[in-house]
Symmetry: D2
Subunit: 304 residues, 4 copies
């Protein structure tokens, strides 16, 4: 497969979409990002790297970070994690309280905010230094020791996090947060604030595409079966209430973030990361979605 | 891959689950089925067939038939079909009216009952003899001219179909059924009543696993991309509110029915059908689910 | 109290509201009513009658008829009626299916459509000739032997009653309709189609304002306590999801109908009926609501 | 009316219910109250006082205090208060987040927790010393200068107020709290912690039964019409999701609290307060509900 020409073609084709969609502006730090950025990086299991545009500019991972949190929580807890959350698509917005109230504080899956807050609680409970250990893991899995939190972004998010605070309190009311609510929220927003480039992010997702080597990064160990199951959750739950659409149009497991990034994998072949800050009306990167749709269309490769 | 020993091993292992789960008994015809049946059939793209147990006994497809209805409706309408229904997981029971009311009569996807009723309406509107044409299609795709409706089952279901009648009326109220409600319901239940064996069902699903040959059966034509997209919908929506669990445990696109059948595919490799009437608490065949979980575990093959 | 000048003053003041609001047009028979009608009639326990405008023109009672159905069902069943429905305000639209599904087919109260359908089922089950007996009762309580159904309106409503048919089927699914669905629907729509003038309707409601004489009309007998309890239900549930607003602005027990009528009572003093076809956005007569608000404001009399 | 013998009879009859129901124990201070207490006090507009049992023992008003908060907020804001909350029964539990999310942060009425939190925000915004002014008002309206907050109860509630904190954050997210969330919550719980006896509480509610004298207590002024409208809101919204039942059985405007108190009024005649800590399954005092049902039954007096 000539991925180079595919990536170049995608980059050329999405130029027409510049200006479409709406950048997230609910905190100043995200609003300040130049919305014109477009970055792509595809990295194959056999070590090839293809990139275009701003593939080396770092951006805020936001919800993409939940994949790393899940890797850590799943590694530590195994299937007992599923007593505290489900693994079903929610059929609702990522920040809705309705389902959480109806289902007595058990989040539908790890990728809606409620589920990620429970994971933050799990990590805090079981690790002496959760912030450091989270950072060590993402640095390890991405082979990049300079990756870091953006504390300003995290603080800025915390200061206006009314909805997430409501969710955390509802979880606590139902006994599904053990620790201190404020501690959980702060750790949650720190994880979301991690910044990577497409080049780094594609590296960090490569192990999810590779079932031949053991997943073992800084003590975070997953069996081949567990990695596949994480991919399954990405597939069904990775795009909020647009998971079906992404599956339909793209056909790869992946995860998006409100910063405009999307990471996805083609098992046995490659990991890919795209970034463009303007979002569609479901909160997923508009150019990012289109880029990945073009990728599986041009290559005629998808999991289906 | 030695599928023969895998199938044999699965069949041996699931014997322990005999008697677990609960058979559907809401109509006499389903209640009368011997619940002890277990059938498996795996059929590869290169023509190998592996079976075990009651693989040649026919059973009621029920919701599995929605895959054939979708093939016909998608073939006729293309993407304009999605103006009348979504392709997102519902996050709710297959027969719930709540989401349908909140979303103004637009079903979440083609595989919940509301979506299937809309498909029945589409087929009735665009085909002079929908029953015959549906039957011709399933006979063609399964290479089996003796496949037929079970009129007794269909009539029996119709006579107690209060919930589906409620759904059909709510759809009509919102303008999402063009035709006569009674006509739509009768056709819907006829489609559900089709009977196949695992051997026949695995044949009928094989084209969904094969992207190299054109999908063209009795005038129902789908592009390779459309077939993949149908697989994507099976993956995210094929198991009611257990789609995430099936994806997590099994990792194959598929569709289940309340008669205890499940059909699934591994793109590029095989189609598989399992049947055992006793259901888990989500309405999916208990032994069927376990069989497919064992299949992907023993072969270490899944789409993830 | 000089009710004559109060009624005259109300009639004068509401002239400014002519043309505001929207007439119900979902069936031709209602759409054909001249929307300019305004009728008022107040009738005191001591036999005085005050009227203005089109007080002698008959209109379609629609949901106001549910008060008569409740009187009959409550008379026959007593408090065992409340095993099949509640008596709480619904907090939702009168025709919503959501609450009914969540609460397993038990309607919130007798005045939402689901509750009225259950009452229709009760009356059919316990009376040999429900249509005749219903008519006899309303003729008796209104002292007017010419009151009748409008069969054309009933048939017209039935022909498009998709939402009510959905509700009836959902009730049946949950076992809360004993009889034939079609029979129940036809009787329900016949009851709704009864026509009265304000003069007649105020007479028919007068017994609800009078606790000194026994309620006994054509065999429909209610104790003084039961009459008060019916008034309580009118107060909390009589105006769909505008019950609180009506209670706040008017402060009288009452019941409205989509035909533009409202009947209300001031216990110990009077019954009042108003009619004007144009509705506010909650489905209650715009001029009717204003008239009654003026009535309790000008008289400084309300139950509060 | 011989209220003395009525009160005595009620007190005698409810003895059989001792031990039924469940005391609120979610905070130690409420759990520590002796659940055997039963107090009643009826106070007529012409100055008679009838009491029985522990009518002079103070208890925690909890949600009954919302009536005083509404008097203050309505006095200050008039009908503009209704831009920030409704006055419709909620049809849902007093502490549910579902309706609040669906209706974009506008509480259904002032007596569910969300509405009371918005009122706390209003009072904080418009009064320099809200705690003092609230206390001055309740002391004035009850003619009792020793009434006070119970700071221990308030702190204890605050420490576990996960659900109310969730509600407050959801309100803030929707822009329906102006001030600091923590400040609002602390003031809310202080108001709830006010303690009165039945004797004092009946005095404090007497002005709501009296439309002949102006309502003017420590600067809190309401017109006669506004007092009636407050009564209307008590009638439709004063008993959580048991408002219809209370209206049906008792037929008086009133307000209950989780401490086991209920206050009610019969306009033009009397105010009544009852207290008994054990609650029915809807969270209203079991003996209190029965006492008031007996009161209107024995006197044959109610607003209906």
């Amino acid at each position: 497969m000539d991925y180079k020409s595919v990536i170049d073609s995608i980059f050329a084709q999405v130029q027409d979409l510049r200006g479409k969609g709406t950048q997230a502006t609910y905190i100043p730090a995200l609003a300040a990002v130049n919305p014109e950025h477009i970055g792509l990086c595809l990295r194959t299991l056999d070590g090839q790297v293809y990139q275009a545009g701003d593939a080396q500019v770092r951006f805020s991972l936001q919800s993409i970070s939940k994949v790393f949190a899940l890797a850590m929580a799943f590694s530590m807890q195994g299937d007992s994690l599923w007593t505290r959350m489900g693994k079903e698509p929610s059929g609702a917005a990522f920040n809705s309280l309705i389902q959480l109230e109806l289902e007595n504080g058990i989040p539908r899956n790890p990728f809606i905010n409620a589920g990620a807050l429970v994971m933050a609680d799990v990590l805090i409970k079981h690790m002496p230094q959760p912030e450091n250990q989270f950072l060590d893991f993402v640095r390890s899995v991405s082979h990049c020791p300079t990756i870091n939190f953006n504390y300003g972004v995290a603080l800025s998010e915390r200061s206006q996090a009314y909805l997430n605070t409501a969710i955390a309190n509802l979880l606590k009311y139902h006994g599904n947060i053990d620790g201190d609510i404020e501690r959980v929220l702060q750790f949650y927003f720190l994880m979301c604030s991690v910044e990577m480039s497409c080049e780094e992010l594609s590296q960090a997702f490569l192990p999810f595409a590779d079932h031949t080597r053991p997943f073992d990064y800084n003590g975070v160990r997953l069996t081949s079966s567990q990695v596949k199951r994480m991919n399954a959750i990405m597939q069904t739950c990775g795009f909020y209430d647009e998971a079906g659409e992404f599956s339909f149009l793209v056909g790869l497991p992946g995860k998006s973030g409100v910063g405009g990034g999307i990471a996805a994998i083609y098992p046995g072949q490659y990991a890919v990361a795209v970034w463009s800050p303007r979002l569609n009306n479901k909160g997923n990167s508009l150019i990012g979605m289109k880029s990945l749709e073009l990728l599986t269309t041009l290559t005629a490769q998808s999991i289906f």
